[in-house]
Each structure stands twice: as C-alpha cells, then as structure tokens.
C-alpha cells in the first residue's frame, strides 16, 4: 500500500534525524527532548506494522515514564561544567576508523542476507480463533504461552522497586 510506504519513510527520516540531534546536542535537556521525538517515530513504525499495543506501550512507558526518569537524572547531576567542555575526545580518528569498519561489515552482511529481511505482512487477525485485535492477541498469548515470564516480570519489578529505595536511602536518617 502506497500510503504505508510514504509513512514508513517519513517515520524513518524522523527517527534518524532525531537520533542524530539527540547525540549531538550540547545541552542534555535538549537531547532528552529529541529522544522523545525518536521514540515517537519508533511508535509510528510499530503502528505501521499493526502492533498497536506495542505502540501504546512505547508512548506510555518510554516517553511518559523513562524519558521523565532521564530528565530527573539530568536534574540530579550538576552538568553546568561538563556541558562547556569539548564533547569529542582526542581519539576521534580511531573511533571514526572503527565506526567505518563496523558499518562496512554490518552493511556487507545485511547486503548478503537481504532476502531474509523481507517484511512480512502483519498476521491477519482472523487467523487466531475469535481473537480480533493486536492487544487481544497479546492478552491471549501472555496468559497462556508466556505465563511464567509474565509472573517473573513481577519479581523483576519488585527487585527494581526495592533496589531504587535501598539505593536512595543509603544514608539512614540523612535528609
């Protein structure tokens, strides 16, 4: 479908441009805002592939949660001095050579295996029983096939919770 291709390239350009802006900004807060733009583009790609639930998660979690976390971390770190220094170190040439080599390598293998990278059509919803939408499919699979990983996820969240509280309260009584 023509519209899908146009939208894909729009999102792809948006992702690449925003990602470049993210890593080149001198002010970290601007970087974080460009990161939001990058993540919105990725959500758009998910939506194009018919993964509505993933797109929603991308926006709610990554943009609404994790980027806010980044901003809080930026606030916690005194950046005024660091931001005035040179961003690129004297190893620029070594880094450039390694990056070019890696890109060439990656490009070569992508070129070799390009046939296997054909984008499959999103699974037609009707194929999986009475389930109709992407979110329903995820609910169905999550609570049958991937039940254990789902329950383990809650343990992981518990660990994250406890870890954050313990680290933040490292000095008891200190305000």
């Amino acid at each position: 479908m023509q519209l899908d291709s146009i939208l894909f390239y729009l999102f792809a350009v948006q992702i690449l441009f925003s990602a470049l802006m993210t890593i080149t900004r001198r002010n970290v807060v601007y970087s974080a805002v460009w990161l939001i733009s990058t993540l919105v583009g990725v959500a758009g790609i998910y939506l194009l592939q018919g993964a509505e639930f993933l797109a929603g998660v991308q926006i709610i979690l990554y943009i609404g949660g994790i980027t806010v976390l980044f901003l809080f971390v930026i606030m916690l770190v005194p950046v005024s001095e660091e931001s005035k220094q040179r961003r690129f170190s004297s190893q620029l040439w070594i880094v450039l050579i390694v990056a070019v080599l890696l890109t060439g390598e990656l490009g070569y293998f992508l070129w070799q295996g390009a046939d296997s990278f054909q984008m499959g059509e999103p699974t037609p919803p009707a194929e999986i029983g009475t389930v109709t939408t992407n979110s329903e499919q995820i609910g169905q699979v999550l609570f049958s096939e991937y039940l254990l990983p789902f329950e383990l996820a809650s343990i992981l969240l518990l660990v994250a919770m406890i870890g954050a509280v313990v680290m933040a309260k490292a000095r008891p009584g200190a305000e």
Binding site: L48, G50, G65, G139, L142, F143, A164, A168
Partner: protein, 118 residues
C-alpha cells in the same frame, strides 16, 4: 497502518503545525527591538541568585523510578482486562498472583517511608 489511525495522524500533524505556523507568523509580523531591560525579571519576579541547574533532592528520582515500575505494572493489566472474558478465573488468579507480588513491594516501600515527602 490500520485505517482507524488516519484521524490521529491528521490530528498529530495539525498539532505540530499549529505552534510552528504561529511562531513563524509572529516572527514575520512583530517588530524586532531587543533590549537589556527586556531580559530582566519583571515586577513579579526576583533576580535569581544561583544557577538554575542546582542539585535536586534524590526523592525526585525515587518517585520517578517508582512511577516507572508501577507504570509497567499497569501496562500488564491492559491485555488482561481486554481478554478478561476469555481468560476467566484462571486469568484472574494469575493476575492476582502478579499483583500480590507487587503489592508486597508497595507495602514495604510504604513502611520504609519512601513515599513520605518531608
């Protein structure tokens, strides 16, 4: 892209276009006369005596990371809620186990006083 998202796309495009167009038009129309006085804090403000990028309390970070944790938890509720009729009692028990583990953590956090804002 599923059909139903076209209106959202149009909405997004308009939402982005509005501030861009407004700022550009304002830039074309307005007179340009920058002055030092204009940059001062006006009657309703006091001059700042420190850098804006001071250090903040770690509590902001704590609240943010706890928000992310419970955000993930809520995300997991959505596919369950959508498929509630199909999953039935088994799904309900699974979700209760999932929630119980997190509620234990929540009670622990609460008793640690991590949510208290002193």
């Amino acid at each position: 892209m599923p059909r139903g998202y076209i209106p959202i796309l149009i909405f997004l495009v308009l939402a982005f276009a509005f501030p861009v167009v407004t700022i550009l038009v304002a830039k074309l129309v307005r007179p340009s006369a920058p002055g030092k006085t204009k940059l001062e804090a006006y009657e309703c403000g006091i001059p700042s005596d420190a850098d804006t990028r001071g250090r903040y309390s770690i509590r902001f970070y704590l609240v943010a990371i706890l928000f992310v944790v419970f955000d993930v938890e809520t995300i997991f509720l959505i596919p369950w809620a959508i498929q509630y009729n199909v999953l039935g009692l088994f799904g309900l028990i699974e979700m209760l186990v999932f929630l119980a583990i997190l509620i234990v953590g929540y009670i622990w956090i609460f008793r640690q006083g991590a949510l208290k804002w002193v």
